[in-house]
Every structure is written in C-alpha cells, then in structure tokens.
C-alpha cells in the first residue's frame, strides 16, 4: 500500500470512527465530541499556518471571532437564515484575514507574534466598544427557532453532531488535499528555508498571504459553526486565551500533521473538562501542559508517533 493510500485510509477511518462513535457513546460524550470536532476545525486552520508555513500567530481568536460574529450578528440583528449568515461569517473572516495578513507579513519572528497579539487585542476591544450590538463579554444567544436548515433543528443533538462531522470531514480532507498539492509543498518549503524558496523563484510573500487567508477563513468557519450549532456568541471568544488554545491543541497533537489538531483538541478538551470539575484554577492544566510539551514533546503526540514509528503519517 502506498503512503497516499495509507493516509486516505487514516482520514476516512477517523471519519468513520467518529460517525460510529455517535451511536456507541453516551449522549454526554457525543455532545462533547461535537464540540471537539468544531474546535478541531479551528485547530486545523491554525495548523496550516503554524505547522506547515512556520508562522506562529498569537492572534487567531480575531479570525475565529470574525466568523463567530459575522454569522451571529447577521442572524441576531438582521434575521438572516443560517446559510447566508454562514457565508457572511466566511466573508468576514476572509476580509479580516486579508487586511491583517497584508500588514502582519511585513514583520517576522518575535515581532510577528507580538503584532498578531496586538491586532487580536484591538479586535477584542472593538467588540467591547460596540457593546450595544455585540453585548460585550455577556454576549447574546441565537434563538433556537432561527437555527434551522431545511426544517432540521440544529440544536437537536443528532443533527448537530452530523453537521459538525460533515464540516470537520470537509476541512480534514480539504486541508489534507491542499497539503499534498503543489501549494502545500511550497508552504513546507517556505517553512524549512524561506531564502531558498525565494531563490527558487517563488513569490514567498504572496504565498504566505494566501496561507494566512486560508488559515483565517478555516478558523472563521469554525467560529461561525460554533455560533450556529451552540447558539451563542460572546467577546470571551476573542480574548487572548482563545488565541492560545489553538496553539496549545496543535502543539499537543503535533504541528504539521493532519490528524494532530484533532488529537490535541480531543486530549485537551477532556483534560480541561476533568480539571474544571476538580478546581476553580483549571487553567493551571493549560500552563503545565504547555511547559511539559515544550520541554519533552516538541513534536506533539502525532508528530512523535511519526518520528518514532509510522514514517508515512501525513
């Protein structure tokens, strides 16, 4: 079996397993799994930029909340139906990431991280400033009656799970395809040696901008999906913490692997869930994990499996 077949097997196997999990797992866990799939989309979007292009952003919450509010405000204030509102979410993320990408790519290294952090902070404050419409930290709920597509109620656990699974699968397979395509190979080339990629004649800045936009749109799609399926939008999702979460998920799962973001999101979701039942200071878990992963597991879970056992892992 060739490596391509193996990775197809892995991706379809994972999707099949997730489909099966709905019927096997108790309702509580399948509900959790729906959340994990949605946030895994966010992690996959982040991974495209961090894992494959080598750009560490500390401001992806801006793109996530662009999608979240793009959909949320349209449904909440303009009474749009879910599908056009979802498109509005994607367009919002597209515009924001194109503008921000154009600016941030003028910087590199540490400055890049700080600038992304600053823009995300400005975005968060902007959401607070327009509290009349966004309701600030408190946020607003989307009415159950409006969250219907073709008569299917998106707040129903089964429909919600299916919806999350479909979007998760599309993102997983789509990104896996892009990464194998020439575009994805170029991203890896830029990550490994930007100067050489430039010498070979690639327009590195233009390619990186495309990566930022693609990553931003996928993150925005995750935000829009989250608002749609769970019926809530709030400024908390735009805080620094939500910029650090995808970094954490990707680092734990394995940067630059296709399944790593999902693995990391799943692992951290249950770890944080467990810790928040034990103590008020559950974010301690986040800190300890970040430090331990940086010290002892620099390739993450899937990355370590790849270097140790399965060389073909995509």
């Amino acid at each position: 079996m060739s490596d391509t077949h193996k990775s197809h097997g892995l991706h379809f196997g994972l999707i099949g397993l997730l489909a099966l999990a709905y019927f096997v797992l108790p309702a509580y866990h399948s509900g959790n799994l729906a959340s994990v799939m949605v946030i895994a989309i966010y992690a996959m979007g982040y991974n495209l930029l961090f894992g494959y292009t080598g750009l560490l952003s500390l401001g992806h919450a801006l793109f996530f909340s662009a999608g979240l509010y793009g959909l949320g405000l349209m449904m909440h204030l303009a009474d749009w139906t879910p599908l056009p509102a979802f498109a509005a979410g994607l367009i919002a993320a597209l515009v924001v990431s194109a503008v921000i990408g154009f600016l941030i790519l003028r910087t590199t290294g540490v400055a890049f991280m700080i600038v992304t952090l600053m823009f995300a902070q400005a975005g968060y404050l902007t959401i607070l400033y327009f509290g009349k419409y966004t309701r600030g930290d408190e946020g607003f709920a989307l009415q159950q009656a409006s969250r219907q597509i073709a008569g299917y109620d998106l707040s129903d656990p089964g429909v919600r799970y299916l919806c999350a699974l479909v979007l998760f699968s599309v993102t997983l397979l789509g990104l896996a395809y892009i990464i194998r395509a020439p575009f994805g190979r170029t991203l890896v080339a830029i990550r490994e040696n930007e100067e050489r990629a430039r010498m070979l004649g690639y327009n590195v800045t233009a390619i990186k901008l495309k990566a930022v936009i693609l990553s931003g749109v996928v993150s925005g799609a995750s935000g829009a999906t989250y608002a749609l399926l769970f019926g809530y939008a709030g400024a908390t999702f735009a805080t620094v913490q939500y910029s650090i979460f995808p970094l954490l998920w990707v680092l734990v799962g394995g940067a630059g692997t296709t399944v790593g973001p999902f693995v990391g999101a799943l692992f951290m979701f249950y770890l944080i869930d467990y810790a928040s039942g034990k103590t008020e200071a559950y974010l301690l878990v986040v800190g300890v994990t970040l430090v331990l992963v940086t010290l002892f597991l620099p390739h993450g879970i899937a990355g370590t499996i790849r270097t140790r056992f399965l060389r073909w892992l995509p």
Binding site: L103, I104, R106, A111, L117, M118, L128, L284, G287, V291
Partner: protein, 308 residues
Amino acid sequence: MEFGPHLLLASLEGATTAAVLALTAMGLSIVFGVMRVVNVAHGEFYMIGAVLAWFIATSVGAHPALGFVAALLIAPLLVGFLAAGVDRLILRHINYDPERTIVATIGTLYILQQTTLMTFGPDARPVEPPFNSRIALPWFEWGENGFEFYFPWGLSTTSYKLFVIAAAVVILITLWLAITRTKAGLVMRATQQDSDMAQAFGIPVKTVYSVVFGLGAGLAAIGAVLVVPIQQAYYLMGHDPLLLSFIVVIIGGLGSLPGTIIAAILIGMADGIISVFFTPTLAKIFATLVVAMVLVFRPKGLLGKSTS
C-alpha cells in the same frame, strides 16, 4: 475644574503610571536585550510581586511603613529567585529558542496565575501606604488683576504618589550606573553583544542569563510593590502591565534601554491623559493599533538599532 488644572491633574496621574511602567518595562527590555527572548510571563512576576507585598505587609503587621519597607526589600528578591528558577528549569533546556520560549513562558504565565488563584484567592486585597498625606496644588493664572494663584477644588495629589515617582527615578539611575560602571554590568553587556565570545572569555553565560532573567522579574516586582498601595493586589492584575510593557519596549526599540525609558514616559503620560479625557476602551483600541502599526512599518522601534 477648568482645562488647565484638569490637564495638570491628568499629567500627575500619568507621571505615576509612567514611573511604574518604566520599571516594569525596563525588566522586560533588559531580558530581551541580553537574552533575545520575550518573557510573556513578565506580567505574572509583577502580579506575584504585588501579592507577596500583601503577604509581607500583613504578616509584619506593625506600622504600615515598616511592612511596606519589608515588602519593598523582600518581595522583589523572592520574585527574582523564582524567575531564576524558571530560567534554570525551563528556558535553559529549550536553549532560549525564541519561539519555544514564548510558548513556554505562556505556560509559565498560566501556572503562576492559577497557582496564585488557588492560594491567594480571587479577591483583590489592599496594602496600606506608608504615608499618604493629601497635597493640594496651586494653579497660577495671569488674569485681570495681574498674576494670581489659588488652589482649585479637586486639584491635589498624595505624598505617596510623588514618592513613587521619586523612587522609580532613583532605582532607574542606580540600575543605569550598575550597568555602565560596574564589573557585573560589563559582564552583562559583553554577554549581550556576543554570547559565544563572552563564553570563550570565561564568562559563565548561563549564570548571567539566570541573573538577568531574575533581575528583569525583580524590576517588575519593584514596580508592583510601589503600585500596590494605590491599586490592589489581584491575581489577574498582570495582564495590563504585560501589554503596556510590550508596547513600551517595542516603541522604544527592541533592546534599547534609553528608548524604553523615553517610551515609558510617553506611553504612561499619554495613558493618564487620554483616560481622563476620552473613554478608556477607545483609547486602548487606538493605542494598540498605533503600536501594531509602528511594529509593522518601523520594526526596530523608534530608537532601535540592533537587528534581532
């Protein structure tokens, strides 16, 4: 109050902010200058300085001045040792790789903050200032009756706020003399210029890194001990100083110590004045965007020379 006295009041508030900010940002700037790493946990060292000040001041219990002096001496030292420990246990093992250091210090941020939440609790607690007399300020005017001066209602400051400004100036001058005039300062500058060459000349670079990391955190802690009688000790108080210190270090030019001081005065004063005259959220949005733009279009800051 009229515009003139109001502006003077805002400037005084701004000067206090600027003094504390200069100390905190200087810590971040020294760490970046010598070690070439960004310490995201810097704000948490500040917060722990404030919390320790509360612990020390309440356990001494005698006259507030005694507790305050004890806090000012002990808290920064403890925070410095804590930071040196973080350097030894974590940063040394990831070889001060810039990106991994950021991730590791984000982790450290959560560990310190959440440990404080578990021990100190979620309440904000005050520390009593050692002295706090109210000083009314005169305002001069060249009016119809020639030169006159009076005390406008509300135009006043406290002796403690003036002390904060003076203390910050003294500490920063001491630091400047230590860096430029002493053997330890020379070793530090040698490490900053070329750590490999310094190592070759027998300078224990790793120890220098630990000391510098401790010094940086200690400076933040001094700033926090000074500010805690004005504000309160609170486990989430590290967020704003971190962001403001980032802004100051960037505007001043990464690695430029004089630039850091100038930027701290600029930003601190602006913060004080803007927040008196405009809504704080809009001011913050504006300030954050300006800084981001400075970094985008002038990546080395206003006084930055060295390339990172």
